[in-house]
Amino acid sequence: MAYLVVTFFAIFAFWMGNSGHYKPLMLGFAALSFAITLILCARLKIIDREGAPYVRLFGWLAYYPWLAWEIVKSNWVIIKACLRAELDISPSLVKLKTICKSDLAKVTFANSITMTPGTVTVEIEGDKLLVHGLYEANTQPEAFEEMDRRCARAADPAETPA
Amino acid sequence: MTLAALFAVLLGMCLLLVRALLGPTLYDRVLAVNSFGTKTVLVIGLLGYVMGRTDFLDIAILYTLINFVATIAILKFFRYRSFQVPLARRPEQAARGGDSNG
């Protein structure tokens, strides 16, 4: 139920931010479409911890700025690699082991790896990740430890596993 | 300046087209088309600014979502040879659930 309410506020904010018309008729249409959307979502049973992950919002607010800075740093590396006169890349494929417990945390971690240019998650199997990297030096398992820790802190539930 | 940015993105599109045409493997082509879609979103947004009609951004939002759906459909096709298999990691469960409902 709480997830439903949070979803309602999310789509409410989305509608308000995209519409720009706040007359009663339009607001009525909006309310109607919210109701239909919520009923459909509830029937499809897609509103759960993963479908509406707003409960850990504060953990993520701490995580994303750090991730953004990581993205900027690794972007610079790849931009240099693209523009260097001679190609000097050393692609590698490594296996990682994550400490994240829940699916949500694992997905966050894998997507963070993909989002940083230069590394991309190829496969997740249990708690092992297969990662392809552009530079061998940047793709050692130690390089991902901090991201792993932060992901686990941001997305893993503190109380009980889902 | 916006116009220059627009031209730069269009130039990037032209270069990307080369990859889409050459693309030795299928995945290179999908990658090129996906990146092309991202650039189209940017082109439409910048076009709105150049022409002074920022309501084009609505279409850019639509494009972002459509592009994603198209890419996922393509990859699903290549992975499972069908659109009817769910993209879940637990095929047995998913298949069973789908059967009991159908």
Partner: protein
């Protein structure tokens, strides 16, 4: 003032660039033999053509092209590819001279017809001087809908639109019912056929489609 001039030239250049990309893609689609590449390139074609529609101010057409051309038709074409081979048979050049002449003649006639069309944005063109102008003027007072296209489609012609939508929905439903979903779908049956075992490509079937 210079800004307007620069904008006009820039828009013209963008027009030319987009049309050039469209031309290259069209030639490539005609020349390629791999069906998958053709599907991908047709996706590119509709993306670029939608951008071009938006450039020439046909925003609603661009919207439709984005939804149908780039998203839906790619998926439908891929679904059609499930039922057929991966590559087209190469044909000898100039083996079909008759269809080529018909196509060329039709193209030349269409080009000839474009000479009579009013230029883009001409205020004296029939579309802008007749009933279209009236709708532009009275639309807001009649319906209160800010978008003219929306007001015409959903207010003045709303029953027409409803009927069209119903027809299209019925057609789509019929196609879905014919092709089927899940266990007994046509695509699935064809895939099970022994011929499909020899398809090129080494895609492992993870989804064990039992």
């Amino acid at each position: 003032m210079t800004d307007a001039v620069l904008g006009g030239t820039g828009t013209a250049l963008i027009n030319i660039l987009l049309l050039a990309i469209l031309f290259v893609v069209a030639i490539a689609i005609a020349r390629l033999r791999s069906l998958f590449a053709i599907v991908m390139l047709s996706g590119v074609y509709s993306l670029v053509s939608a951008a071009w529609y938006i450039l020439v101010d046909a925003v609603d057409v661009g919207f439709t092209e984005a939804a149908v051309g780039a998203g839906m038709s790619t998926a439908v074409l891929l679904g059609a590819m499930l039922l057929t081979a991966r590559t087209a048979k190469p044909e000898k050049p100039f083996s079909r001279i008759g269809p080529f002449i018909v196509c060329a003649a039709a193209g030349i006639m269409l080009l000839y017809a474009t000479i009579d069309l009013p230029p883009l944005g001409d205020p004296a063109s029939p579309a802008n001087s007749g009933v279209g102008l009236t709708y532009l003027q009275v639309n807001w007072y009649d319906t209160g809908v800010p978008n003219v296209v929306t007001s015409v489609l959903a207010s003045y012609r709303s029953f027409d639109t409803l009927g069209e939508t119903a027809v299209v929905f019925t057609a789509g439903l019929a196609v879905v019912l014919l092709l089927g979903f899940g266990e007994r779908s046509l695509a699935d049956t064809l895939r099970r056929a022994p011929k499909s075992e020899t398809l090129p490509g080494t895609v492992r079937k993870d989804g064990d489609g039992t």
